[in-house]
Symmetry: C2
Subunit: 342 residues, 2 copies
Amino acid sequence: MTVVGCIGGGQLGRMLALAGIPLGLRFRFLDPGPDACAAAVGELVVGPYDDPDALDRLADGAAVVTYEFENVPVGAAERVGALPGPVALREGQDRLREKELFTRLGIPTARFGGVEAVGLPALVKKRRLGYDGKGQRLAETVEPLAEDELAEELVPFDRELSIVAVRGRDGDTRFWPVAENVHREGILRVSRAPAPGAPQAEAEVIAARLLDELGYVGVLAVELFEVDGRLLANEFAPRVHNTGHWTIDGAVTSQFENHLRAVLGWPLGPTDAIAPSVMVNLLGDLPSLPRLLELGAHVHVYGKEPRQGRKLGHATLVGADDETVAEAARLADAAASSGSGA
Amino acid sequence: MTVVGCIGGGQLGRMLALAGIPLGLRFRFLDPGPDACAAAVGELVVGPYDDPDALDRLADGAAVVTYEFENVPVGAAERVGALPGPVALREGQDRLREKELFTRLGIPTARFGGVEAVGLPALVKKRRLGYDGKGQRLAETVEPLAEDELAEELVPFDRELSIVAVRGRDGDTRFWPVAENVHREGILRVSRAPAPGAPQAEAEVIAARLLDELGYVGVLAVELFEVDGRLLANEFAPRVHNTGHWTIDGAVTSQFENHLRAVLGWPLGPTDAIAPSVMVNLLGDLPSLPRLLELGAHVHVYGKEPRQGRKLGHATLVGADDETVAEAARLADAAASSGSGA
């Protein structure tokens, strides 16, 4: 039996396993939390991400080790020979290096540097460990930045898009249709794919440059701003991505299955959409599942305890009309704001 | 967390869990074998199916108990209040009662009774515990039958079909498209759905009569013979069914998910096909998974040890051309006849 190790045992690891068990794979997760939700579908090694013993137990007999979050310590990824390769972590974990990489590859991105250089008001971000809008502030006046901060031009974007792509060990590269994403309070609420009228080819060029430069193996997501019909790369994530969850139900091959196929050196599956899909995140508390199911939603619950703003699951509507999508979003919102998680 | 108990921990239980975990369900299986393959996705209670203690452990705290094979002892199903209800087991486990039920409901079926009554040559079957063609023989001369035997008319059918249907607690009933099935040596090799030119409406009437008569809750499959454009019911199975495996990848809602939704009293999902699908069973030994994946197959491996004729997995091709389907079947056949299972 082929064992896949995964650094991190959250919902992304759980969905990787749900995609991989039918392929005959077994999963082992490393997570500091004994209640990691991926434990429902695999073995759990409880320990810090940078603990050599825990890492060795994770990798013991595994055909490959991968990870499900972008802040994996680079040394940990190196120790277990993780795929995607540690270089993707190194380039992505420091926001300055990430932006410099974009620039070096000719990928358009918002201006960055000091506050003065980018103009006011400027978005000041922590260079490291920011996610879901955390670690960001707006600078209204010119001010010096701390060593661990970076200023970025505040981009008046028309919409947020993302592209999820996968590259195999042999360099074979595939792209899912671009998704249109709505964030609120820094957290993804809704993804719609294929994004109507999105510059698919331009997004693919951006992702392909990153994948090739990084010698990447696995799934990578690039978050993009659309401004006057042009794309600016905001950031990339070297992992399966929330804006690709719709692919479980709405694409021929899901991001989770193709990530596994990539890191195992197996042939990739088609990334075509089956039908237009909308994914709604279930945050904070779960709405009534029967009501979501009645709307025709495909429901994915992660088995995590409710907590304000926490990602507890998602629901995907495939080929649904706007009214149905709006109703599903309304159910999710009502639960998020009124449930025990609030 | 909602717990679902399942009597039997084979591949059907495993696929039920893979469909149910995303719905936030947890699974517990009762199986006499400590190596039951569903244990990869749930808790395993090891014990005989009719052991009261084991059954009580299975049902402890479970929202519902269901089963994955038709020879569950009726008393066991009754003890845990299983759904589908024990009446379906009682009617289906005795081939004579099953055929009498068909007749009572006006469902056409091959003649049955003594050898003389059905004509020569007659197919003589064990009334109980037959499956995959086991417990059958051909009678060439008139002979008396044992108490546990039943003779059936040898039907010169044009093809074998099946319909998989689901009925909710509220009586809501849905039907997947009829599948066309090819058996060899009594074991299902290939299912194609929707079966070209199949009498869908006639098949639905047959399934609906059974579901309503049995007050059924869950998925039920009816195996059918097509003879000169008419249907004869051969047998029914009160469970998810091998000829419905294509629904995982080829239908909007799989038989596994809808079975769970039915027994939990949740609304049922649409049963439409996404595209024409062909499922190929992987028997005896597994072919190269990368080669199957390269053909565009969705691969489902059950985690069982290879053994001659054993169902180890299946592969589903959705919207594929005939040549690709033939190649997948050829790979499966080659592995079945030459591998370590042979």
